[in-house]
């Protein structure tokens, strides 16, 4: 990690090696650390060779879906006579996730380099870095880095003197979570309302401006220079559990934990060690109760499940959840799960674009029911309604925001049903909550009774 804590000995700092070093933000500082050598090497290769190396490395998308990056790049047909585009998804808005922010904050040139290599590999001359609007600091650093790279001739009409054109543009989002969905991001880049598109057609066929487009997460792109410099075998060897999950991955940790922050580990690391050793375990006098391991969209794990998990794409699935974006949210025994889940649902209701019926109405209804339960006005029928509603919201919409809202509700109800029931029956003593909740739930109750969704 490197910032604000020192790198833990059990971390594998590759992407995060230079976090905390202000000098690494400048072009000179970055070059001193070996920057842009991979781009130089890449521009001497053919795009197909780069795609093959990335394929061989086993790199998978770090944004959440975990799609093999080399395969994604190979969908871009060279010589089809159309302009190709690379989009870098830097609209990091998944609750609990803040890894891309740190990458852009400390090593902006790493992303410029990753974008340039990615663009060249897919036959694109233009790359857009779509940054979440609230990330003002990242936007500043990225704009500075891009300007420096242009001035130094690293990118532009004659990238590194090779005669190849690679343009990189920084685009500021307007702060909508849904614009992190790849097709909504493209709509937004085109200047339209950020609504997800129906797929097919997939972006590789018709993406940005209806042209073949590849979209990659920040962390995915910054991993590519390291793969080119060290070879695919080096990257592939970094795998502790499943051979299908290779390389290092940044995990953002927040919630009730001693040392929140970003941690970079090799995939397959034991989650138990991660939580108790790297992150320092629970705060004094507390016990962990539950974990959301991959950003707010993935199912909640109990500690039993979490402690049995190996931290890779397959390992999380085996324990009933997903790796997602790597945003680890930890709840300890002082937390009231229904209240936490209600807060998550409210987030999704607020961020739903409102296109699809199930999502527009379902996320809002789910939130209202949950907030009513938290306010002590719930009934047992509400729990059944929540589950049926969640079923109705899963797998039926254009994008997965609706599914994401349903996931913590379903897993929360499966795993922490007694906490919901305690709220319904009014047996507050059985809950691990005190006066604080009562005060807040009365606020929620006031909001619910006036019909305001805050």
């Amino acid at each position: 990690m490197g910032y604000p804590h020192k790198t833990h000995p059990r971390e594998t700092a590759i992407l995060s090696k230079h976090f905390g070093e202000t000098e690494a933000r400048t072009l000179d500082g970055w070059k001193k650390r070996g920057g842009y050598r991979a781009l130089e090497q890449a521009l001497a290769m053919t795009p197909a060779q780069i795609v093959d190396i990335v394929k061989a490395s086993g790199l998978r998308g770090r944004g959440g879906a975990g799609f093999p990056t080399g395969m994604k790049w190979s969908f871009m047909k060279p010589g089809d006579g159309k302009p190709h585009y690379l989009c870098c998804n830097a609209d990091e808005s998944e609750p609990g996730t803040f890894k891309d922010r740190e990458i852009m904050r400390w090593t902006p040139h790493a992303l410029v380099e990753g974008c340039a290599i990615g663009a060249y590999a897919i036959g694109a001359e233009t790359a857009y870095i779509y940054i979440r609007g609230e990330f003002t600091e990242c936007i500043d650093w990225m704009e500075k880095a891009v300007a420096e790279a242009y001035a130094a001739g690293i990118i532009g009409n004659n990238a590194m003197g090779t005669g190849k054109r690679i343009d990189v543009h920084v685009h500021k989002g307007a702060g909508a979570y849904i614009c992190g969905e790849e097709t909504a991001l493209m709509e937004s880049l085109e200047g339209k309302r950020g609504n997800p598109r129906i797929k097919p057609p997939f972006p590789a066929v018709s993406g940005l401006f209806s042209q073949p487009t590849t979209i990659n997460n920040v962390e995915t792109l910054v991993a590519v220079p390291h793969i080119l410099m060290n070879g695919p075998e080096w990257y592939k060897a970094m795998s502790l559990s499943s051979p299908k999950s290779t390389g290092s991955k940044l995990f953002s940790v927040c919630g009730n934990v001693s040392r929140p922050g970003n941690y970079e580990i090799v995939l397959g690391f034991p989650f138990k060690d991660f939580l108790y050793d790297l992150c320092g375990g629970p705060q004094p006098g507390r016990k962990f109760k539950a974990v959301i391991p991959g950003g707010a969209s993935v199912p909640i794990q109990t500690m039993e499940e979490a402690e049995a998990t190996m931290m890779d794409y397959e390992g999380f699935v085996a324990q009933g959840t997903m790796l997602g974006s790597g945003g680890v949210i930890i709840f300890d025994d002082q937390q009231n799960m229904p209240r936490m889940i209600a807060r998550l649902a409210r987030f999704f209701a607020h961020e739903s674009c409102g296109q699809c019926t199930q999502c527009r109405e379902g996320t809002a209804w789910t939130t209202k029911i949950l907030e009513r339960i938290v306010a002590g006005q719930g009934t047992f029928e509400d729990l059944d309604t929540l589950l049926e509603l969640a079923d109705n919201m899963t797998g039926k919409t254009i994008c997965v925001l609706s599914d994401s809202c349903a996931a913590p509700v379903v897993s929360g109800l499966q795993k922490f049903r007694h906490e919901f029931e305690a709220l319904i029956t009014g047996k507050r003593s059985s809950m691990s909550t005190g006066a604080k909740l009562t005060a807040q739930s009365s606020q929620l109750s006031a909001a619910a009774s006036t019909g305001l969704s805050v």
């Binding site: 909508a176 849904i178 309302r193 129906i198 209701a349 607020h350 961020e351 739903s352 674009c353 409102g354 296109q355 699809c356 019926t357 199930q358 527009r360 109405e361 379902g362 996320t363 809002a364 209804w365 209202k368 029911i369 009513r372 029928e381 309604t385 109705n392 797998g395 039926k396 919409t397 254009i398 619910a448 009774s449 006036t450 019909g451 969704s453």
Partner: protein
């Protein structure tokens, strides 16, 4: 070039449709209606209402049938439990914030939300929370927006964006706060904007003109053709208690797609006018039909007829006028009032035309002369025959020159001088007939209401006059006359009311529907 056919099975029925067809459209060919809201054949696919989700065998999840192309060997289930449950879920969600104010909603009775909820929705709601509320908004033009009833299908937004090409509507806000909004300082004042009211599947967009005027189930509906201009948009005339209360477009891909302009739509009050010519007249006094016809024949005896006709009259009328002047000598003239042309940019060859009459093409096909001055050249002694023109618009010079005036029309003629005979006739919604649009498409209109008093269809009155003038003919219906004109006019050769159907046929050699 036609696309190759794809074979699939929908609800157990084998279907063959061109490649690229959506499952929803393919199902229509098999007689299966897949319930839907946001899909409309005249608009780009949005795929947002999620009502048309169907179970396609081997697909991992339910597929939106509006946005999924057919594939060889597909097996589609529209009414199995999985699809039904999904639709039930959508209906429940659409209703949780819906005011359920059907008793006071104009759309009631023709509302797709109502229909599908009755068909397959839940009987009760599990929603216990306060409903969302937004005030009614005036969208300008003839359109009122009731956001509480809106299901955000975005048909109106897509119509203004992609068909009208004037993107004044948009979805504002997001999530469950989403509403349809107009652009700042803009409203639905465009010439075709009111089509959003028809497109709206629920009672969210209402016509101010029709507001609270009638319930949908009280209306009688007849297929007709708009006479507002020479485009000949296919319409439905809706009447209640023998009065026209609303005009709506009727789909015809070759003429008006699914649309009609606001000017045509709102110009119907003249069809209900009360200052009608309701009884025949002879020599200035009310008379029997036979007396009036005899008076007209007497006036025409040995005289030339100078006929001025309204060019929105039917082909049958112009055919009979041609025969009448064939007997008496003289000519048939008409003028064409002009107005501003207003195209609907998203549909090829569709516009409110500058020629604000419906049948100039047909009139010319039967030898009538188009002129700006139809009353010029009335020679002394001519009989001036006025066919459905406004009496007040007839210049006194023409009346003075004429030896007699025969009035065949809908308006009260009592102010006309030298009025020898007056025949009360039915207007366009009170009779049957055909019109020929500017591209030469011959289209039928059907009677929608009863004519007042002793008024008869114009073809009926003119046929009587023609027979009284010595023609050997026996016309009992408008279709008899059409059959006679089809036999004697090469451009109409082979046509009959049956062959025209309700979508019309182009004249031989005409360019009707070119490029469609």
């Amino acid at each position: 070039m036609t696309a190759p056919l794809v074979n699939l099975t929908i609800e157990g029925r084998p279907v063959s449709v061109p490649a690229g067809t959506s499952i929803l459209e393919a199902a229509k060919t098999a007689g299966v209606l897949i319930p839907h809201y946001c899909y409309h054949p005249g608009l780009p696919v949005a795929g947002v209402c999620r009502m048309c989700l169907v179970d396609v065998e081997k697909a991992p999840k339910l597929m939106p049938s509006c946005a999924t192309a057919v594939a060889e060997g597909q097996v589609v289930h529209v009414h199995n439990d999985k699809s039904l449950e999904a639709r039930k879920g959508v209906l429940e969600l659409l209703l949780i914030n819906h005011p359920l104010d059907c008793p006071i909603c104009d759309q009631s009775g023709e509302c797709e939300l109502q229909d599908y909820t009755f068909q397959e929705g839940r009987q009760d709601s599990r929603y216990r929370e306060p409903k969302r509320f937004n005030p009614v908004e005036d969208f300008g033009g003839d359109v009122l927006y009731v956001p509480n009833r809106c299901i955000l299908c975005t048909r109106c937004v897509r119509f203004m964006d992609d068909v009208h090409k004037d993107a004044v509507l948009a979805v504002g806000e997001r999530g469950d706060r989403a509403v349809i909004t107009t652009a700042p300082d803009a409203g639905l004042t465009q010439p075709w904007a009111s089509n959003v009211v028809d497109l709206c599947p629920v009672g969210a967009l209402l016509s101010k003109d029709f507001l609270n005027k009638a319930r949908a189930w009280e209306l009688d509906r007849s297929a007709s053709v708009c006479t507002g201009c020479s485009q000949g948009c296919n319409i439905v005339v809706e009447t209640r208690d023998n009065a026209v209360v609303r005009l709506k477009p009727r789909a015809n891909e070759a003429v008006n797609a699914f649309f009609m302009c606001d000017e045509g739509r709102l110009n119907y009050r003249w069809l209900n006018r009360q200052d009608r010519c309701a009884v025949p007249m002879a020599n200035g006094a009310p008379a029997e039909w036979s007396t009036a016809i005899a008076a007209a024949v007497g006036a025409l005896n040995g005289k030339r007829a100078h006929v001025v006709a309204n060019a929105s009259l039917s082909n049958e009328v112009f055919f009979l006028l041609k025969r009448i002047v064939g007997k008496t000598g003289g000519s048939v003239k008409f003028d064409v009032p002009q107005g501003a042309e207003a195209a609907l940019p998203g549909v090829e060859d569709l516009a409110l035309r500058a020629d604000r009459v419906a049948n100039a093409t047909g009139a010319e096909a039967f030898g009538a002369a188009r002129t700006e001055q139809p009353y010029a050249g009335v020679s002394a002694g001519d009989v001036l025959v006025l066919v459905d023109v406004e009496p007040s618009a007839v210049p006194s010079t023409a009346l003075n020159a004429a030896s007699a005036v025969i009035f065949i029309g809908t308006a009260d003629p009592s102010g006309l001088s030298k009025l020898t005979a007056a025949f009360p006739i039915a207007n366009v919604v009170e009779s049957d007939g055909t019109l020929t649009n500017l591209r030469g498409r011959v289209q039928r209109f059907l009677q929608a209401k009863a004519a007042p008093g002793q008024a008869r269809p114009a073809w009926f009155a003119l046929a009587d006059l023609l027979i009284a003038l010595g023609e050997k003919a026996d016309y009992a219906t408008a279709s008899d006359i059409f059959a006679a004109l089809a036999t004697s006019t090469p451009a109409f050769d082979g046509m009959s009311f049956d062959s025209l159907g309700l979508k019309g046929t182009p004249l031989a050699g005409s360019m009707a529907g070119a490029g469609r």
